[in-house]
Protein backbone atom coordinates (compact mmCIF):
# COMPACT_ATOMS: atom_id res chain seq x y z
CA UNK A 1 0.00 0.00 0.00
CA UNK A 2 1.20 3.43 -0.82
CA UNK A 3 2.60 5.62 1.89
CA UNK A 4 2.37 9.37 1.75
CA UNK A 5 4.63 12.07 3.02
CA UNK A 6 3.01 14.15 5.72
CA UNK A 7 4.49 17.54 6.46
CA UNK A 8 3.17 19.74 9.19
CA UNK A 9 4.17 22.20 11.84
CA UNK A 10 3.69 20.81 15.31
CA UNK A 11 3.80 23.45 18.03
CA UNK A 12 5.95 25.61 15.79
CA UNK A 13 8.35 22.85 14.74
CA UNK A 14 8.44 21.60 11.14
CA UNK A 15 8.06 17.83 11.07
CA UNK A 16 7.49 15.16 8.51
CA UNK A 17 6.51 11.51 8.59
CA UNK A 18 5.56 8.72 6.21
CA UNK A 19 1.95 7.76 6.79
CA UNK A 20 -0.70 5.49 5.35
CA UNK A 21 -3.86 7.13 4.09
CA UNK A 22 -6.01 5.48 6.75
CA UNK A 23 -3.96 6.62 9.72
CA UNK A 24 -5.74 9.32 11.65
CA UNK A 25 -4.10 12.42 13.02
CA UNK A 26 -4.54 11.19 16.58
CA UNK A 27 -2.57 7.99 16.08
CA UNK A 28 0.14 9.71 14.04
CA UNK A 29 0.53 12.40 16.68
CA UNK A 30 0.80 9.89 19.50
CA UNK A 31 2.71 7.11 17.79
CA UNK A 32 4.87 8.77 15.19
CA UNK A 33 5.35 12.35 16.35
CA UNK A 34 5.64 11.72 20.09
CA UNK A 35 2.77 14.02 21.01
CA UNK A 36 1.32 11.87 23.79
CA UNK A 37 -0.38 14.90 25.31
CA UNK A 38 -3.16 14.40 22.77
CA UNK A 39 -5.51 11.92 24.44
CA UNK A 40 -7.56 9.10 23.00
CA UNK A 41 -10.96 9.05 24.69
CA UNK A 42 -13.74 7.79 22.46
CA UNK A 43 -11.97 7.80 19.09
CA UNK A 44 -15.24 8.72 17.39
CA UNK A 45 -15.65 12.44 17.69
CA UNK A 46 -17.77 12.62 20.82
CA UNK A 47 -15.50 13.54 23.74
CA UNK A 48 -12.94 16.14 22.64
CA UNK A 49 -10.03 14.54 24.54
CA UNK A 50 -8.09 14.51 21.28
CA UNK A 51 -8.80 18.16 20.38
CA UNK A 52 -5.94 20.05 18.74
CA UNK A 53 -5.78 23.37 16.95
CA UNK A 54 -5.55 22.92 13.20
CA UNK A 55 -4.52 26.27 11.73
CA UNK A 56 -5.88 27.83 14.90
CA UNK A 57 -9.28 26.09 14.94
CA UNK A 58 -10.20 23.31 17.36
CA UNK A 59 -10.79 19.94 15.68
CA UNK A 60 -10.92 16.36 16.91
CA UNK A 61 -7.74 14.57 15.83
CA UNK A 62 -9.50 11.19 15.95
CA UNK A 63 -11.91 12.27 13.21
CA UNK A 64 -9.19 13.74 11.03
CA UNK A 65 -7.03 11.77 8.66
CA UNK A 66 -3.39 12.63 9.21
CA UNK A 67 -3.26 13.62 5.54
CA UNK A 68 -6.04 16.16 6.05
CA UNK A 69 -3.53 18.04 8.22
CA UNK A 70 -0.86 18.03 5.53
CA UNK A 71 0.79 21.42 5.16
CA UNK A 72 -1.04 22.80 8.18
CA UNK A 73 -0.13 23.96 11.62
CA UNK A 74 -1.08 21.74 14.56
CA UNK A 75 -1.03 23.07 18.11
CA UNK A 76 -1.49 20.90 21.19
CA UNK A 77 -1.72 21.85 24.85
CA UNK A 78 2.09 21.87 24.92
CA UNK A 79 2.19 24.51 22.24
CA UNK A 80 -0.20 26.69 24.22
CA UNK A 81 2.00 26.79 27.32
CA UNK A 82 4.74 24.81 29.03
CA UNK A 83 5.47 23.96 32.65
CA UNK A 84 7.96 26.82 32.83
CA UNK A 85 5.80 29.26 30.96
CA UNK A 86 2.19 28.27 31.42
CA UNK A 87 -0.56 30.07 29.55
CA UNK A 88 -2.94 32.11 31.78
CA UNK A 89 -5.62 29.51 31.01
CA UNK A 90 -3.46 26.72 32.36
CA UNK A 91 -2.68 28.68 35.53
CA UNK A 92 -6.33 29.46 35.96
CA UNK A 93 -7.34 25.79 35.58
CA UNK A 94 -4.89 24.89 38.35
CA UNK A 95 -6.00 27.74 40.62
CA UNK A 96 -9.68 26.91 40.23
CA UNK A 97 -9.37 23.16 40.74
CA UNK A 98 -10.63 22.68 37.19
CA UNK A 99 -8.42 19.60 36.85
CA UNK A 100 -9.14 16.39 38.68
CA UNK A 101 -8.02 13.25 36.85
CA UNK A 102 -6.72 15.51 34.10
CA UNK A 103 -7.66 13.34 31.16
CA UNK A 104 -9.91 15.92 29.56
CA UNK A 105 -7.58 18.82 30.32
CA UNK A 106 -5.42 18.88 27.17
CA UNK A 107 -8.57 19.04 25.03
CA UNK A 108 -10.26 21.52 27.37
CA UNK A 109 -7.30 23.88 27.20
CA UNK A 110 -7.25 23.61 23.42
CA UNK A 111 -10.98 24.38 23.13
CA UNK A 112 -10.83 27.24 25.62
CA UNK A 113 -7.81 28.74 23.85
CA UNK A 114 -9.70 28.60 20.56
CA UNK A 115 -12.65 30.26 22.28
CA UNK A 116 -10.65 33.14 23.74
CA UNK A 117 -8.92 33.67 20.40
CA UNK A 118 -12.28 34.43 18.78
CA UNK A 119 -14.20 35.83 21.76
CA UNK A 120 -11.78 37.47 24.20
CA UNK A 121 -14.47 38.21 26.80
CA UNK A 122 -17.00 35.42 26.56
CA UNK A 123 -20.05 35.29 28.80
CA UNK A 124 -20.94 32.04 30.56
CA UNK A 125 -23.20 30.87 27.77
CA UNK A 126 -20.44 31.40 25.23
CA UNK A 127 -17.95 29.58 27.45
CA UNK A 128 -20.29 26.61 27.75
CA UNK A 129 -20.77 26.59 24.00
CA UNK A 130 -17.01 26.83 23.45
CA UNK A 131 -16.34 23.69 25.49
CA UNK A 132 -19.53 21.88 24.48
CA UNK A 133 -17.50 19.40 22.42
CA UNK A 134 -15.39 18.39 25.41
CA UNK A 135 -16.60 15.93 28.02
CA UNK A 136 -15.32 15.91 31.59
CA UNK A 137 -16.30 13.09 33.92
CA UNK A 138 -14.83 14.59 37.08
CA UNK A 139 -15.32 18.28 37.64
CA UNK A 140 -18.98 18.86 36.82
CA UNK A 141 -17.79 21.67 34.48
CA UNK A 142 -18.47 24.59 36.82
CA UNK A 143 -14.87 24.94 37.87
CA UNK A 144 -13.76 24.76 34.26
CA UNK A 145 -16.20 27.50 33.29
CA UNK A 146 -15.00 29.64 36.21
CA UNK A 147 -11.38 29.05 35.27
CA UNK A 148 -11.95 30.20 31.70
CA UNK A 149 -13.94 33.22 32.82
CA UNK A 150 -11.24 34.22 35.25
CA UNK A 151 -8.45 33.77 32.70
CA UNK A 152 -10.32 36.05 30.30
CA UNK A 153 -10.81 38.69 32.99
CA UNK A 154 -7.16 38.54 34.07
CA UNK A 155 -6.01 38.91 30.49
CA UNK A 156 -8.16 41.99 30.07
CA UNK A 157 -6.81 43.74 33.16
Amino acid sequence: MATYKLELKLNGEKLSAQVLAHENLLSVMRNKLGAKEVKNGCNKGDCGACAVLLDGKAVNACLTLALQANGKEVTTVKGIGTEDQPHPLQESFVRHGAIQCGFCTPGMIVSSKALLDTIPNPDRRQIREGISGNLCRCTGYNKIVEAIEDAALKRKS
Partner: protein, 294 residues
Protein backbone atom coordinates in the same frame (compact mmCIF):
# COMPACT_ATOMS: atom_id res chain seq x y z
CA UNK B 1 -23.74 -1.15 14.51
CA UNK B 2 -20.27 -1.46 15.96
CA UNK B 3 -17.86 1.42 15.75
CA UNK B 4 -14.46 -0.27 15.80
CA UNK B 5 -12.94 3.15 16.47
CA UNK B 6 -10.11 2.43 14.11
CA UNK B 7 -9.79 2.64 10.39
CA UNK B 8 -8.89 -0.80 9.20
CA UNK B 9 -9.29 -0.58 5.45
CA UNK B 10 -6.50 0.82 3.36
CA UNK B 11 -7.22 3.22 0.52
CA UNK B 12 -5.57 5.64 -1.85
CA UNK B 13 -5.71 9.33 -1.19
CA UNK B 14 -5.68 12.44 -3.37
CA UNK B 15 -6.01 16.13 -2.61
CA UNK B 16 -6.52 17.84 -5.98
CA UNK B 17 -6.88 21.59 -6.48
CA UNK B 18 -9.53 21.88 -9.16
CA UNK B 19 -13.06 20.61 -9.70
CA UNK B 20 -11.95 19.14 -13.02
CA UNK B 21 -9.26 17.06 -11.32
CA UNK B 22 -11.78 15.82 -8.74
CA UNK B 23 -14.09 14.60 -11.50
CA UNK B 24 -11.19 12.95 -13.35
CA UNK B 25 -10.04 11.16 -10.21
CA UNK B 26 -13.56 9.96 -9.44
CA UNK B 27 -13.87 8.68 -12.98
CA UNK B 28 -10.47 6.99 -13.01
CA UNK B 29 -11.02 5.21 -9.69
CA UNK B 30 -14.59 4.13 -10.37
CA UNK B 31 -17.20 3.00 -7.88
CA UNK B 32 -14.78 2.64 -4.95
CA UNK B 33 -13.84 6.31 -5.02
CA UNK B 34 -15.45 8.80 -2.65
CA UNK B 35 -15.23 12.47 -1.96
CA UNK B 36 -14.10 13.48 1.52
CA UNK B 37 -14.78 17.01 2.73
CA UNK B 38 -14.51 17.44 6.51
CA UNK B 39 -14.74 13.69 7.08
CA UNK B 40 -16.87 14.09 10.22
CA UNK B 41 -19.51 11.71 8.85
CA UNK B 42 -17.39 9.64 6.51
CA UNK B 43 -14.61 8.71 8.93
CA UNK B 44 -17.06 7.41 11.52
CA UNK B 45 -18.89 5.45 8.81
CA UNK B 46 -15.59 3.90 7.80
CA UNK B 47 -14.86 3.04 11.42
CA UNK B 48 -18.29 1.40 11.52
CA UNK B 49 -17.39 -0.37 8.27
CA UNK B 50 -20.60 0.96 6.72
CA UNK B 51 -18.39 2.44 4.05
CA UNK B 52 -15.15 1.04 2.63
CA UNK B 53 -13.89 3.24 -0.17
CA UNK B 54 -10.79 2.20 -2.08
CA UNK B 55 -9.88 5.80 -2.78
CA UNK B 56 -10.62 9.13 -1.10
CA UNK B 57 -10.56 12.44 -2.93
CA UNK B 58 -10.19 15.33 -0.48
CA UNK B 59 -11.94 18.41 -1.86
CA UNK B 60 -10.81 20.90 0.77
CA UNK B 61 -7.88 22.16 -1.34
CA UNK B 62 -10.06 22.73 -4.38
CA UNK B 63 -10.20 26.38 -5.35
CA UNK B 64 -13.61 27.93 -5.65
CA UNK B 65 -15.59 25.56 -3.42
CA UNK B 66 -15.57 27.66 -0.27
CA UNK B 67 -17.46 30.93 -0.39
CA UNK B 68 -20.63 32.67 0.76
CA UNK B 69 -22.00 35.44 -1.40
CA UNK B 70 -25.21 37.36 -1.97
CA UNK B 71 -26.18 36.98 -5.61
CA UNK B 72 -29.89 36.55 -6.36
CA UNK B 73 -30.22 35.10 -2.90
CA UNK B 74 -27.40 33.39 -1.10
CA UNK B 75 -24.80 31.20 -2.79
CA UNK B 76 -22.71 28.90 -0.64
CA UNK B 77 -19.79 26.83 -1.94
CA UNK B 78 -20.37 23.17 -1.05
CA UNK B 79 -17.08 22.84 0.86
CA UNK B 80 -17.75 25.87 3.04
CA UNK B 81 -17.23 25.02 6.69
CA UNK B 82 -20.28 24.90 8.92
CA UNK B 83 -18.45 27.38 11.11
CA UNK B 84 -18.41 30.01 8.37
CA UNK B 85 -22.01 29.44 7.30
CA UNK B 86 -23.12 29.71 10.91
CA UNK B 87 -21.24 32.96 11.44
CA UNK B 88 -22.65 34.44 8.25
CA UNK B 89 -26.25 33.49 8.99
CA UNK B 90 -26.27 34.85 12.54
CA UNK B 91 -28.64 37.82 12.56
CA UNK B 92 -29.14 37.45 8.80
CA UNK B 93 -32.31 36.89 6.81
CA UNK B 94 -31.40 33.19 6.91
CA UNK B 95 -31.46 32.82 10.68
CA UNK B 96 -33.06 29.34 10.51
CA UNK B 97 -29.80 28.08 9.01
CA UNK B 98 -27.86 29.63 11.88
CA UNK B 99 -30.19 27.92 14.33
CA UNK B 100 -29.82 24.58 12.57
CA UNK B 101 -26.02 24.65 12.55
CA UNK B 102 -25.92 25.84 16.16
CA UNK B 103 -27.91 22.77 17.13
CA UNK B 104 -25.63 20.50 15.12
CA UNK B 105 -22.69 19.31 17.09
CA UNK B 106 -20.09 21.56 18.58
CA UNK B 107 -17.13 23.75 17.70
CA UNK B 108 -14.90 20.86 16.63
CA UNK B 109 -17.61 19.67 14.22
CA UNK B 110 -18.34 23.17 12.87
CA UNK B 111 -14.62 23.66 12.26
CA UNK B 112 -14.22 20.48 10.22
CA UNK B 113 -17.67 19.70 8.80
CA UNK B 114 -19.04 21.30 5.65
CA UNK B 115 -22.52 22.21 4.50
CA UNK B 116 -22.17 20.08 1.35
CA UNK B 117 -21.08 17.13 3.48
CA UNK B 118 -24.17 17.45 5.66
CA UNK B 119 -26.39 17.28 2.54
CA UNK B 120 -24.46 14.66 0.55
CA UNK B 121 -24.34 12.34 3.55
CA UNK B 122 -28.13 12.43 3.28
CA UNK B 123 -29.02 11.47 6.80
CA UNK B 124 -32.79 11.78 7.36
CA UNK B 125 -31.75 13.92 10.35
CA UNK B 126 -29.32 16.21 8.48
CA UNK B 127 -29.98 19.45 10.31
CA UNK B 128 -29.20 21.90 7.52
CA UNK B 129 -31.77 20.22 5.25
CA UNK B 130 -35.05 21.55 6.69
CA UNK B 131 -33.98 25.22 6.58
CA UNK B 132 -32.49 24.81 3.12
CA UNK B 133 -35.69 23.14 1.90
CA UNK B 134 -37.83 26.04 3.11
CA UNK B 135 -35.46 28.54 1.49
CA UNK B 136 -36.15 26.63 -1.76
CA UNK B 137 -32.46 25.82 -2.12
CA UNK B 138 -31.14 24.47 -5.38
CA UNK B 139 -27.94 22.46 -5.54
CA UNK B 140 -25.43 22.52 -8.35
CA UNK B 141 -23.68 19.25 -9.22
CA UNK B 142 -20.70 18.78 -11.51
CA UNK B 143 -19.68 15.47 -13.04
CA UNK B 144 -18.13 13.97 -16.12
CA UNK B 145 -21.19 14.87 -18.18
CA UNK B 146 -21.09 18.50 -17.09
CA UNK B 147 -23.14 20.55 -14.72
CA UNK B 148 -26.74 20.30 -13.55
CA UNK B 149 -28.86 22.13 -11.04
CA UNK B 150 -31.83 20.79 -9.15
CA UNK B 151 -34.04 21.55 -6.21
CA UNK B 152 -32.74 20.17 -2.93
CA UNK B 153 -36.15 18.49 -2.62
CA UNK B 154 -35.27 16.32 -5.59
CA UNK B 155 -31.73 15.59 -4.39
CA UNK B 156 -32.47 13.10 -1.62
CA UNK B 157 -33.63 9.65 -2.68
CA UNK B 158 -33.52 7.70 0.59
CA UNK B 159 -31.56 7.12 3.77
CA UNK B 160 -27.95 8.01 2.93
CA UNK B 161 -28.80 8.09 -0.74
CA UNK B 162 -28.99 10.90 -3.27
CA UNK B 163 -29.12 11.47 -7.02
CA UNK B 164 -25.33 12.01 -7.05
CA UNK B 165 -23.64 9.90 -9.71
CA UNK B 166 -20.32 8.24 -8.81
CA UNK B 167 -18.37 10.87 -10.75
CA UNK B 168 -20.33 13.83 -9.46
CA UNK B 169 -19.73 16.29 -6.68
CA UNK B 170 -21.85 19.04 -5.24
CA UNK B 171 -20.35 22.47 -5.85
CA UNK B 172 -22.93 25.03 -4.77
CA UNK B 173 -26.05 25.55 -2.71
CA UNK B 174 -28.24 28.45 -3.81
CA UNK B 175 -30.95 29.88 -1.54
CA UNK B 176 -33.82 32.03 -2.74
CA UNK B 177 -33.84 35.64 -1.50
CA UNK B 178 -36.40 35.81 1.31
CA UNK B 179 -37.97 39.11 0.23
CA UNK B 180 -39.97 41.53 2.37
CA UNK B 181 -42.22 40.56 5.23
CA UNK B 182 -40.51 37.20 5.60
CA UNK B 183 -39.74 35.29 8.77
CA UNK B 184 -38.10 31.94 9.34
CA UNK B 185 -37.09 29.68 12.21
CA UNK B 186 -35.72 26.23 13.02
CA UNK B 187 -36.10 24.06 16.09
CA UNK B 188 -35.01 20.57 16.93
CA UNK B 189 -35.74 18.10 19.62
CA UNK B 190 -32.87 15.84 20.67
CA UNK B 191 -31.91 13.80 23.71
CA UNK B 192 -29.19 16.21 24.79
CA UNK B 193 -27.67 19.30 23.28
CA UNK B 194 -25.75 18.63 20.06
CA UNK B 195 -27.17 15.14 19.58
CA UNK B 196 -28.77 13.88 16.38
CA UNK B 197 -32.36 15.11 15.97
CA UNK B 198 -35.39 13.08 16.98
CA UNK B 199 -37.46 15.64 15.14
CA UNK B 200 -36.46 18.89 13.50
CA UNK B 201 -38.57 21.50 11.76
CA UNK B 202 -38.06 24.69 9.78
CA UNK B 203 -40.68 27.19 8.66
CA UNK B 204 -40.41 30.03 6.19
CA UNK B 205 -43.33 32.40 5.77
CA UNK B 206 -44.38 35.81 4.60
CA UNK B 207 -47.05 37.86 6.23
CA UNK B 208 -49.14 40.88 5.43
CA UNK B 209 -50.89 41.98 8.57
CA UNK B 210 -52.70 38.88 9.86
CA UNK B 211 -52.51 37.08 6.54
CA UNK B 212 -49.85 34.53 5.67
CA UNK B 213 -49.13 35.02 1.99
CA UNK B 214 -46.47 32.36 1.59
CA UNK B 215 -45.54 29.39 3.75
CA UNK B 216 -43.08 26.52 3.52
CA UNK B 217 -42.66 23.80 6.12
CA UNK B 218 -39.98 21.11 6.27
CA UNK B 219 -39.19 18.43 8.82
CA UNK B 220 -36.20 16.20 9.45
CA UNK B 221 -35.79 12.78 11.09
CA UNK B 222 -39.43 11.85 10.53
CA UNK B 223 -39.15 10.12 7.15
CA UNK B 224 -36.44 8.45 5.04
CA UNK B 225 -35.55 11.89 3.65
CA UNK B 226 -35.96 15.41 5.00
CA UNK B 227 -39.45 16.37 3.76
CA UNK B 228 -41.63 19.34 2.87
CA UNK B 229 -45.23 19.15 4.06
CA UNK B 230 -47.07 20.73 1.17
CA UNK B 231 -50.63 20.03 2.30
CA UNK B 232 -49.94 22.08 5.37
CA UNK B 233 -48.37 24.87 3.34
CA UNK B 234 -51.47 25.00 1.12
CA UNK B 235 -53.72 25.05 4.14
CA UNK B 236 -52.00 28.12 5.50
CA UNK B 237 -51.13 30.19 2.45
CA UNK B 238 -53.51 33.08 1.81
CA UNK B 239 -55.29 32.63 5.12
CA UNK B 240 -55.66 34.82 8.17
CA UNK B 241 -53.62 33.26 10.91
CA UNK B 242 -55.45 32.15 14.00
CA UNK B 243 -54.59 29.72 16.79
CA UNK B 244 -57.19 27.28 15.54
CA UNK B 245 -55.74 27.15 12.03
CA UNK B 246 -52.22 26.51 13.30
CA UNK B 247 -53.52 23.85 15.67
CA UNK B 248 -55.32 22.13 12.80
CA UNK B 249 -52.18 22.40 10.66
CA UNK B 250 -50.08 20.79 13.37
CA UNK B 251 -52.48 17.83 13.45
CA UNK B 252 -51.96 17.41 9.73
CA UNK B 253 -48.19 17.55 10.24
CA UNK B 254 -48.38 14.57 12.55
CA UNK B 255 -50.51 12.67 10.02
CA UNK B 256 -48.20 13.46 7.12
CA UNK B 257 -44.85 12.47 8.64
CA UNK B 258 -43.63 8.91 8.27
CA UNK B 259 -41.39 8.30 11.26
CA UNK B 260 -39.85 5.04 12.41
CA UNK B 261 -39.03 3.52 15.78
CA UNK B 262 -35.33 3.63 16.55
CA UNK B 263 -32.99 3.92 19.50
CA UNK B 264 -33.74 7.63 19.84
CA UNK B 265 -37.55 7.58 19.87
CA UNK B 266 -40.67 5.68 18.98
CA UNK B 267 -42.61 6.61 15.86
CA UNK B 268 -45.64 7.54 17.95
CA UNK B 269 -43.57 9.93 20.06
CA UNK B 270 -42.09 11.49 16.93
CA UNK B 271 -45.57 12.09 15.47
CA UNK B 272 -46.70 13.96 18.55
CA UNK B 273 -43.49 15.92 18.93
CA UNK B 274 -43.51 16.82 15.22
CA UNK B 275 -46.88 18.52 15.72
CA UNK B 276 -45.73 20.52 18.72
CA UNK B 277 -42.40 21.42 17.15
CA UNK B 278 -44.10 22.64 14.00
CA UNK B 279 -46.45 24.82 16.04
CA UNK B 280 -43.62 26.40 18.02
CA UNK B 281 -41.50 27.04 14.93
CA UNK B 282 -44.46 28.48 13.05
CA UNK B 283 -45.17 31.06 15.75
CA UNK B 284 -41.51 31.94 16.03
CA UNK B 285 -41.26 32.58 12.29
CA UNK B 286 -44.55 34.46 12.37
CA UNK B 287 -43.33 36.80 15.11
CA UNK B 288 -40.11 37.36 13.23
CA UNK B 289 -41.78 38.23 9.96
CA UNK B 290 -41.29 41.89 9.45
CA UNK B 291 -44.02 44.10 8.03
CA UNK B 292 -46.61 42.30 10.06
CA UNK B 293 -48.96 44.38 12.18
CA UNK B 294 -50.82 42.57 14.89
Amino acid sequence: MINTRILTQEFDYFAPESIKQVVELLERHGEGARVIAGGTDLINQMKEEKMSPSCLVNIMNVKGLRYIKEDEGLRIGAATKLRDVRAYCFKSRYVALYEAISSLGKPQVWNMGTIGGNLCNASPAADTAPPLLVFKARVKLVGKDGERELLLEDFFTGVNSTVLQPTELMVEIHLDPPGDGAGNAFLKVARVGADISKVSCAVFLKRQGRTCTECRVALGAVAPVPMRVKVVEEMIEGREIEESLVAKASEIVSEEVKPIDDIRSSAEYRRQVAAVTFRDVFWKAWDRAIGGKN
